[in-house]
């Protein structure tokens, strides 16, 4: 049985806001291919203030899918649509006191249903940009698609590279066989052979994470800048760049430049930066493109 938190169990056994909202004017329907879970989120949004007045969910899924749906409706009720969009899947998981790594996709599904519902409210079409693969690293909940993309994008050659860029394999190490298989496959597609004895391509030192709370805000910002500086050469080599714009609480706003901005890689690069920051800082940090700053501020 999964090691679910009391909060997960509580939301599962006593779900809040189950069922469809009457007179809903925002509906999001999404499914996660892993698990086969699916969720319909119905919202009633005030047309003028854009405040979410009521939210309801209908979920075909496991305990944590139902709990994630339930807690999501609780989080977003009373928020404006823009405020609600700021809710990340980590926020959903955090509100549940965490989810097992295998179940993180349930929180992702919740966030996607929300995005889909908002798009529906605004008369836009929502497109899913997130692909999910088989879970490889259970310590850090990293799936095969993420690893594959990182291997492609950053020309990774060794398991150590993969750990440096994605964190996968950095814990108990039992997924190294799986990571080697991915490397073997991707390198073959690139016309190369996987060499298990090769030196890591990107020798990024892995400093011990520092204790959170031990730093002043200025020290934190300096540290974040330092991490970004360390990552810049790799980004510049790929024709891009990154610049720190602002730090607010645990959110770091960055400006993605060159090949990194606008392209499909941006989201992934940001994911990589976020992973790296969390590793070094030893705390949860959200990296957001500065373009989203105005919207959030509004």
């Amino acid at each position: 049985m999964w090691d679910y938190s009391e909060k997960v169990k509580d939301h599962f056994f006593n779900p809040k806001n189950a069922g469809a909202v009457e007179d809903a004017n925002a509906i999001g329907e999404v499914g996660s291919i892993s698990c086969g879970d699916a969720l319909r989120l119905t919202l009633r949004v005030d047309e003028d203030s854009e405040v979410i007045e009521d939210a309801g969910f209908q979920t075909f899924g496991c305990g944590s899918a139902i709990a994630s749906s339930s807690v999501l409706t609780e989080i977003i009720k009373g928020k404006t649509v823009d405020e609600a969009l700021d809710v990340s899947n980590q926020d959903i998981a955090a509100e549940l006191d965490g989810l097992p790594p295998e179940k993180m996709h349930c929180s992702v599904m919740g966030r996607e249903a929300l995005q889909a519902a908002v798009a529906n409210f605004r008369g836009e079409e929502w497109k899913d940009d997130h692909e999910e693969g088989e879970l490889v690293c259970k310590c850090f909940a990293i799936d095969a698609v993420m690893i594959e993309e990182m291997v492609w994008a950053n020309k990774l050659r060794t398991v150590e590279d993969v750990t440096n860029f994605t964190k996968a394999g950095g814990g108990c190490a039992s997924c190294h066989e799986g990571i080697e298989e991915i490397l073997e496959r991707v390198l073959k597609e690139q016309g190369e052979d996987f060499d298990p004895t090769a030196a890591p391509a990107a020798p990024v030192a892995t400093p011990e994470p520092e204790k959170p709370g031990a730093m002043t805000n200025l020290q934190r910002i300096k540290k974040i800048e330092q991490v970004l500086e360390e990552m810049r050469p790799a980004l510049i080599a790929d024709g891009g760049d990154v610049e720190l714009v602002e730090v607010e609480g645990n959110t770091a706003y960055v400006n993605m430049k060159g090949a990194c901005s606008g392209c499909g890689m941006a989201a992934m690069t940001i994911g990589g930066i976020q992973q790296r920051l969390m590793e070094v800082m030893g705390e949860y940090i959200k990296v957001v493109p500065s373009s989203e700053m105005a919207r959030i501020g509004a």
Binding site: F13, E29, V30, I33, F60, S64, E132
Partner: protein
Amino acid sequence: MTDIYLDNNATTKVDPLVVNEMIPYFTEQFGNPSSIHKFADGVARGLKKARKQVQELIGAEHDSEIIFTSCGTESDSTAILSALKAQPNRKEIITTVVEHPAILSLCEHLEKDGYTIHRLGVNKMGQIDLEEYTKLLTDDVAIVSIMWANNETGTLFPVEKLAEMANAKGIMFHTDAVQAVGKIPMNLQDTKIDMLSISGHKLHAPKGIGVLYLRRGTRFRPLLRGGHQERGRRAGTENSASIVGLGKACELALEHIEFENTEVKAMRDRLERGIVEQVPHSFITGDIENRLPNTTDIAFEYIEGEAILMLLNKAGIAASSGSACTSGSLEPSHVMRAMDIPYTAAHGTIRFSFSRYNSMSEVDEVLKVVPDIVAALRKLSPYWDGDKPVEDPEQAFAPTYA
């Protein structure tokens, strides 16, 4: 209400009589059976007796055909790898898509090493096509490995017949009988089965003890080499307490085999009939006419298995599910997919598996709670509306899939 255990295909409680038999082998007869002193005196005798008890349960011709291993998985691996090693010119394996991972993962791995794996598909009842099987029986095949009983649905394959067909073509036949041994009668000396896997913990013996039956004369290459234990066919100091326990468990299984096929079967039948009658949109999966007496696997449409299990667990009932979510894998059970069970049902399958420790009153308790659990979850389901599925469910709810 005390808790009700209906997950006996996952593992079973060790029979107290088995425990009694084992205890002296931890504290008194703890010697190495190969040693020459009184601490080892009785051990060799204990092992010999256990070998006889296993032999009797499965109807083997000789007790030397019983090789003790560490588990069902080891027996499966030993059988297949031995066949490949002993016949280096044969590079193909025939198996089915519904085998246990102990076979399937190994085969996948062997495929990477260049072996050809033929995986027989199954129909909606979970049965293979004999014509397709016949066509695959060629001189390139090193071994056929087909399970006797499926762990999820309890569906029985006609392994005696399949073994004869393989034998007629000079091909080795192995069966993973981990779920079948002790639940249905068998007499291996009347069959052409060359190798057969047993796992102790499925028949009220401890976990971590298994058997590979190896027909006399079958060419064999050990998996573990070392000492001369098990006549050199499986090195490593014998797990004597567990071996003795397994022997006792086999004796008890033989005593109870009629009970299993009458009383236990009656409990199973009553449960599944009761559920299907009371719960709309539920159905039994697998080959209903050719099944283990203790197993039923029921699909509850439009809801998901893990959620059902959590509510059952809250009600003190232990069962298991073919849902993807319970295993942390991506897909619903490969067995359900292979039988072409629709998505919205495959995720909601629940397996109830009985043993001689269950009772009819437990069946009644379960029947009291299952309909409400299903109804409660359907209330949350986007595929459900009031007291029935939404009209044209797949159309009415068609989410964007990531």
